[in-house]
Structure formats: structure tokens, C-alpha cells
Amino acid sequence: MKKISLIMSALLAISASNQVYAEQVQGKIIGNNGDVVAGATVKVMGTNTLTHTDEEGVFNLKIKPGRYELHIVANNFAHKNITLDISDNKTAQVNVLLDKSAIEIIDVSATPFHSSNIESALPITVLHGENLRMRQANTLGDTLSKEVGVHSNFHGGVAGTPIIRGLDGPRVLVTQNGLDAGDASRVGPDHAVSTETVTSERIEVLRGPATLFYGSGAIGGVVNIVDERIPTSTDIKGEWLAEYNSNNEQQLVSGSFTSGIDNVAVHADGFYRESENYQIPEKNGVNEVDNSAAQSSGFTLGSSYLLNNGYVGFSYQNLAQEYGIPGHSHGDENVQVFADLDQNRWQVLSELNFDNALIKSLNTKFSYTDYQHSEVELGVIGTTFDSESLEARFEVLHQDIFEWRGGFSFHYKQSDFTAIGAEAFTPPSKSESIAFAWMEERHFSDVLFQLGARIEQTEITAGKVRLPEIELFSAHDNEHESAGYTRNFEVDHRFTPMSLSAGLVWDFTDGYNMGLSLSHSQRAPSASELLSFGPHIGTRSYEVGALFALHDDEPYFGLTEQDIVMETATNIDLSLRKFKGDFGFILNAFYNQIDDYYYEQATGFSAGDGHDHSGHDHGDHEEEESHTLPLYTFTAKDVTLHGFEAQAVWQVTDTFSWRVQGDIIRASLDSGSQLPRTPPARIATEFSYQGESISADLFVSHYFEQTHTAELESATDSYVMVDGNINYHFNKAQYDLAAYLKINNLTDEYAQVHTSFLKDLTPLAGRSIIFGLRGTF
């Protein structure tokens, strides 16, 4: 905390030395139907300066003389950028005409330029507002599973994490306000993401390599959960929600509040959620998923000091979750395993604008996260994952140079990870990375160029990496090697991953654009991919890191003779967007060639699950086999992923819209076989009604059969999911209230999720009726 207060005072000192001399800009925003647009956001590009239009569509800004680009954003309209010259002692007057748009356009904070999803070369999806509230589920993966290009690895409703274009785990970074979530969710599919969606404002999904902004962990994409924990305004704002789900008897309450006095803004939010086991459509006499009950609660407190040129703020968050891990039975079906996680997170964020010849703005982010996650079996802690992480990021945006907008970012990240107990398949390790990145963009008439490069140095050190001599069981050979000693190693890996990217967005005709993104990114393999050696019940496998290899003659494990290399991805992404008018669409195609892709290769052997069965009779070989797990080794091979995503929206009337979307992906090793758990193709349609007091939505999705399976993987049947919701909006004593009813899986379809490690054990929930009330003020 002392460190954080030092950081805070340093930031305040920087800002205090800065004074702004500014000229007045006044403008009016009008829609192409002639109506004024209230509540539009007007932002001065490349700075943190922004304002909103009033009821008359009028805005006022103070900026110093110079040449600027204003970025104007309003709901249901296409964004617009206008260039403006401000000269001394003159009030500039501008009128802006906005075009209607059926496609939702929203600015994203996950990229340093904060530009919109439409103006990015890389495809970005944003889930926010009522849509977010209607789709939010117990887990992040399940919340995002309706987004194009995103699937959930559905782990029995308790620990689903998002899969972006077929990639997850250490390739998809989950961030909260742009900083690593700091949990163990990247290590195992049964580990929940420790950031709550209920109290978040919006979720941004960057589909494709985002290593440029986020480093190694983002080679497959980024999910950024944005909330107002560090408030940027003292306006009184609040939201609360209470909801009940009939399927798992889930009760959920949440609330958030932001206010302030003078220059000090404060924020508080909190939530509580409790559910029982969830029900599934009956099959073979089973209509419930055992051990899928969960309970979680958390709160966040934050405050910030608002300055003329920005803000400095800090926050504290505590989150506690307890959930059953379905299928995590450790051999004995009656023994249930629970996860108990606790996270404390401190954060400092600041955005400052400068009236300086060189620097336009400085964005600073720090976080310190202390995370602990225990797996509890029969009241006894089996395994504890402990992670302490520290992250710091500085983004310096320079003044425009020959109209190039851009800046540098400096990024430091450190984490100390330990796992102790029966499932401690990864030894304690420390990862440290330091990176420097550079990004620029510029409009050349109709074309926006984006360029970037990043260099990172990552070091993974482990004091004691274990290589136990294990008994290997194989189907055709019952001989097994006898156990003896565990060899130990001190390991120090250093990687220097490099990312280069170039993109362009070409407004080739009015209301359309085309995006092209080329990137070359490298990823340092994670500690668990390199150093693991042990049973991992979450993936139902015995995992051996890439540091080790199976030597064939008389099968035994030794150090690998291969070089430990980085994963290198070359990605081409093409987007075509129509974003003006009552009909809009976004089409994306991508081709991602990943060299030295680390994946778990089946060995045909199995090894002990690490659980103590002394006291059982050991004479029986079958008994031994039942306590073993298939053995996989992390191996680097070249793979290719390619796919296509499409979404189209027709705003049929002012109140009614119809959307169709779909995605398909292929993921295969260059040697020919398929990667496991690749998302199936899917097509969906959505009917939305947005009236004065009633809004309603019907979402029907068809998941195709997945027959592109890896070795030893079974195909998964197709299914149709029908979800709907209706909201009734009303006012009571200045509160905006909405009573709502959601029905998920209306037809009570039995659906298995191909991307889940537990697809046979945990089908999707059966029909769920959810009702709730929420309010804003």
C-alpha cells in the first residue's frame, strides 16, 4: 500500500505542474433525420478530453490552439471524425451531421487510441448495457458465448472461460480495466475467472493477436472487462439488480454507486450470488449435474481525484467464490471437490493530458493482486494455487507528428505462482516480463494506417522443477517401470518475443469500410506448458511440460533434446463492414499460421492420478488402472487456424431489428490431424424489439455437429438453443426501473458442448426461467 501511495503522489505532482490555456469550441450534433442528437460523446482524438451533448445536441469544449480530430459517438449512429483548426482567441463553431447505423458502434478502451470497433483493423466486439445484463451468466465464458467468434469452454456452469477463434488458456488474456485478471484461470479449465461481470460496465473482446498491446498472453485475443471502479466523474450514478433463476435456484443481487464532492469521486459496488446444482434435460435417469452449486460474493471500493487535465484514482477489490467442480471426483464418485477462491486486488489508474510540445497524454495503470485458490475434498484442502502478481503500464501519447498519432508504452509484469498439494502439477515459478511497444496511426484521406511493434523480455524461473520417475501404464503392455528418485532441476528460461503489426482501415465508399490486419506475434510458453509434471484433474490428464520428453527405447522421461522455442503466429485478418443505414453487416475472415504451437500430445500411456490409495488392496492391476490418467506431453508443432465470421443487422423499423450471425473455424496440425475441442460451426438469428416501455429479444442458435475431431476425441451432436427475454421499463420516484423475464433453453434441449473438457458429464442447463428487477439512477 505504501508503494501505491507513493505512486499516487507522484502522479498528482506531475499533474499539478501542468496548466491548460484553452480556446472554446462549440458545436451541435444533428442526425440525418434532422433531429438533434442528445447524449452524444465528443472526444478530442489522441487525448483524454471529452464532453457530451446536451438536450439541444450542443456541446462545448476547451482546447488550446492547434489542429485536432474530433471523434463523435452516439447510440444508433455511425461515428464521425472531423478535423478542426483552432486558432488563438477565436471560438470555433462546428455542426456535425451523423448517419444512422444498424450496427452498434462503440469506443473501446482495450486499445490505446480508444477508437471504435468499426475503426479498428482488428475485429472487436463489445457487450454492454441491457445486452450485457441479459446475457450475463455465472461465468465469463458463458456470458460471452453468444458473441461471434467466441465460445465458452463450459465447465459445468462454474468455471467457463472464453475461447476466441478456437484459442484459450494461455493464449487468451483476461483483463480487468486493461490489467491482467491475476487468477489461475489460464492454468486449468476448472479454475474460474476472478473478475465479476455483474458489476462491470462492458466487456470488450479483441479477436486475434493483441500481443502488441498486451504481450505474450494475448496471442489469441483479449477479453477486457471494464468497470467504473475508478470513477472518472462525480455525477451521481447507480445501478442495482436482483434476480432469481428457477433452474439452479440462483439468487443474485448486485449494486454499484458512483458519486463525489468537488474533485473527489467515489465508487462502491458489490454482489452476492448463490446457486444450487443445475438441472439438465433428463437422460438415463440423470436430471441434475452433481456438485455444480456455487456461491460468490465481492465488493469494490474506489476513489479518484479529478483534475483539470485528467484523474488519478485507486481501488480495492475483494472477491470470494466457492464452487463445486463437477466431475472432479478423484476416482471416488461420491467424493465431491470444491474450489474456494479468494482474491484481493489493488489498482491505481490515471489518465492525464498535457499542454506540452512533446507529450499529449500519459496513461498509467498499476495493479497488485493476491490470489489464492484451494481445492477442498472432504473438508481437507487438496491443492492450493497461490499467485501474487504485480503489473505496471505507462502509455505516453505524443503530440501529432506530421499527423501521425501515436505513442509508446512501457509494460512490466511479474507473477509468483505456487501450487501445493495433490494436484500441484506445476512447480512454483516466477515469471517476469518487461516490454516496450510503439504504435502509430494516421489517416491518408480515406485510409487509416495503423502500425505497431513491441519487444518484450520474459523470464521464467523455477527453483525446483520435478521430474519424478513414474510408473507408465499402457494398454498393450502391463509392465511398468519401478519408481525410484525424483530428479530436480533449477530452470531459467529467457524469451525475447517480438510483435509487429500493420493494419489499414479503408473507407472505400460512404458507409462502408474494409479492414486489413497483418501481424507477426511471438509468445513465450507459460510456466505450466514448460514445467508441469503431474496429474491435472481439471483436464483429466497427466500433464508433462515441454521441458521433458518421452524417450522411446524403454519408455522413460528425461529432459527434452529439442530447443525450447517460442510460439510464432502470422495472422491475416480481413474485415468488410457496412455500418450506415438501416442495414449493416460485418464480415471477417482470418488465417492464422502458428509455428511451434504448444499443445498436449497424447502418448498412449497413462500414469497415476496422485491420490493416496494406501489402505486399498494394491494387488489388483485393474485397481491401478482405474487410478491412472492418460498422459499427455506438451509438444510444439505447427498448426493452422482459419475461419469466417459474419453478422448482419436489419433495422426493420425504429423499434424492431433482425440480426443473423454465424461463425466457422478449422484448426489443424500441419501434419494433418485436428486440434481437440475446436468450436463447432454455428449460425444464429436474433429478433429484437426496443419500444418505449417494452424491450424484448429472441435468440435462436444452431450449433452444428462437430466431426472435425482430434485423435481419441469423439464427435459432438448438433443442437438448437432458444433463448428469450422481455423487459418492462418504468419510472418510480425518479428511478428508471426494469422488470424482466429471461428464458434460456426454452425447448429444454439436451446439448453437449464440444469445447468443454466435461462434455459428457455436464451438458448445458435445461430450461431456465429467470426473473428480476433492476434499477438505475
Binding site: Y485, H493, F495, T496, M498, Q522, G615
Partner: protein
Amino acid sequence: MKTMKTIALKILLLTCATAALIGCGDSDTNITEIEPTPIPKEDGHDHDDALGKGRLAIADAEQAVIHFFDLEDNTLVESVNITHPAEYLYASPESRYAVAVQRSVDHVEFIDGGIWQELHGDHYDQHTDAPTLKNFTLNDVKPTHYVPRGDKAAVFFDGDQETGANANLSLLSDESIVQETIIAEHHFDTYMHGTAEIRGDFVLTTLRDSSSQSSLPEQVVLLEVHGDHFHQEQVFEETCPALHGSFQTENYIAFACGDGVLAIEQKGNVFTAHKIANPVDMPEGVRIGSLKGSAESDVMIGGSRAGLFLVDLRAEQITSFNWQPEEDLSLISYGLDGHNEHSLIIDNTGYLNVFSAENNWELDKRISLFSDLAEDAKPSIIASKAHELIYIIHEQEVTAVDLHDGEVIGHFDLNFVPAKATWLGVASKEEHGH
């Protein structure tokens, strides 16, 4: 326009060049092999290897010293000085501390054997420290019987007829020794050579009529622990004249009396007592004065001057224990193994006879230890709780015996005259779990 683009590209090239200098795209791995660790085997009793064999604490017969031997390599770890020579030496309930009872000087000292484990979150940290004398002592009058049961032990102070000091009972555990305190104590209103059996929150202990001539008690009383003291719950009507020796199984608590064995059964909070009378053929002047056995067997072994008896608490019968596999064998020493699964008798031919509790104390195996033993030889049997090992101290030699394999696995010599001894270390789980 063109110049601007060139500048941007130049910057890009420059960044790349800088990157190349510091090793763009490099991977470097350094692996150093360090000391390997032996891993516990996954099968059977070898599982306990990780726990180690522990230490042997042996009191010096001539000096106020306790010697500690490392049983991994049979070497002396340390000789710890205590205040007075130890007349009895016991292990604390969880075998971390040696309890040195100095009866004639009213003093009990505790020596940390150094081998213990500490619960650290979800796992145990194993400690192997040097043995050290604790500052904690007990100083009541004539500490004599020491009865460990589960994670607690009762220390009975007899008091003194001469000085009029009353008897006293203290309850302690390894944890209380760490905290240098006792859990609870009870003061009697007279002296007696008594004993106690701990039964959960209850303690069954002895009562003596202060007008009695004998220093031995004749009644049993039920106490219940309340914080740091006891409440008297019940005095059993059935008497137990000249009470000496006690033991308990899962089903019964038994006290040896001059006229038989007092058997007490517990059902919840209700305790009932009845007497099993000495058999009519028991010679005059013979009585059972000690009871031993296994928690899982309702047949206890009673020791008497005239040999061993089997006390069947269920059948309410006392019979001679005809343990001799051959004629003309006589008992030299007798004891039990660390988990009370076998009773052990050393006979005059130098054999160790192993009887299994599971099989109603039938002879399991015989292990040759010594050539013939003199009638007055006093080898002592020290049981280890970590393994199926026992240690026999005979004269100035220690013999290690593996009961599972039925063989002598080692010897080492002592350069001092040994008195009492006990095993210290981390106990393994019992072989035959329930």
C-alpha cells in the same frame, strides 16, 4: 505526404534494429540439475519411507542424560543433560517429546526429540531439528503412571503418605507441551498409587478411601473435562480392591484388581461396570497387576507374577495365556508393537514370539534374536510407530527388528549403560484402518 511515411517507416526499422541488438525473437533456456529427492513408493507399507525411521531416546542409567539416536543410520544425534537421572522415560502422545520422569525428586522434564511435522495449510512440513530440553516441567509429588491415549496423556502423581501430599492428575498433549502448559488437572483428597484412562472428554481414574491401609486405590471414578479442570460425574459402585494396571479397547475400559478385572462399558455418556472375577484355579497370592492389548481386540493380556493371562472382556473370562510354542520356554520380556497389533514376548531361548491381535493373540511368527538368555536378563522392547519396527535394548546393544519381514535388520552398540528408552518421531497411519 511521402516524406511523412518515410519517417514512420524509418522509426519502425530503427525499432527493429534495436530489437535485433538485444536479441529479438531469442529463446534461451538454462537447466541445472540439483540434488534429487527419493520418492515414496506407491505400494503398501513402504509408503511411510518419507516419514523416516525417527529417533530412539535412551536414558543413561548412571547420569542425568538422555541420549538420542538417529535410526536412519544408528548414530548418536545428541546427548541432552537433564536435572536428575530419569527413572522412567516415555514418549509424548504424538511422539515428539521424551517425557523424563524423575519420580523420587518430584520432577518431570520434556525433551523435544526434534522430529515432528507441522500442518502448513494443506500439507505437513517435516522438521528434523536437534533435540533440546524444554523449560517446561511438572513438579507434583511422585509422578508415576503415565498413560498416553490418542493425542493426550494422563500423568498420575501419587502424592506421599509420609508428607501427606495428595495425589494429583494432569492431562497434557504435544500441543500443550509446545505451549508449556497442561490441559487440565484434578486434585485428589488423599495420596494413592493410581492411574487413569482417557476416553474422549472423559477420564476414568482411581479413588482411595483415605482410611485405607493400602496406598492402592479401590474404586474407579468418572471425570469429565471442563476447561482446565474436571467435574466428577460418577463413582462406580463395583469396587476394585488393590487396583493396579489399566487398559482400554474400543469397547471396554478395564482396571486390574486384587480379585479380578473391573470391566467398564461406555454407551454414549452412560458407563456401566461389572467385575470379572479371578478364576478359581488362580494360585493364591497371584493377581493381575498390568493390562495390555489392542484397541480392536476385546481380549486383553494381563500380566501377573505367575505369568500371562487372557482377559476376555466380552466372554467375561480370565484364562491362562498359553503362549509357549514349545515346552520349557519362559518369559523374559513382554511388550507390544507401535500400533498395538502384536504382542511380543522374548523367551529364554532368545526368540521373539509375535502374537497377532487380529487372530486372538495366536502365534504369528518367531524371530531369533539372541542365543540363550539368562533368567535375570532384562531386554526391553521399544516399539516404533513409524514402521513395523521394534528395537530391543539388551545390555549395551540395540537390535532392530522388522516385524513385517520377521527379521533382524541391524544392531548398534551403546557406550553407556542404558536405562529406560522410548521411540520418538512421526507416526504412520495404522496398517489396518477402519
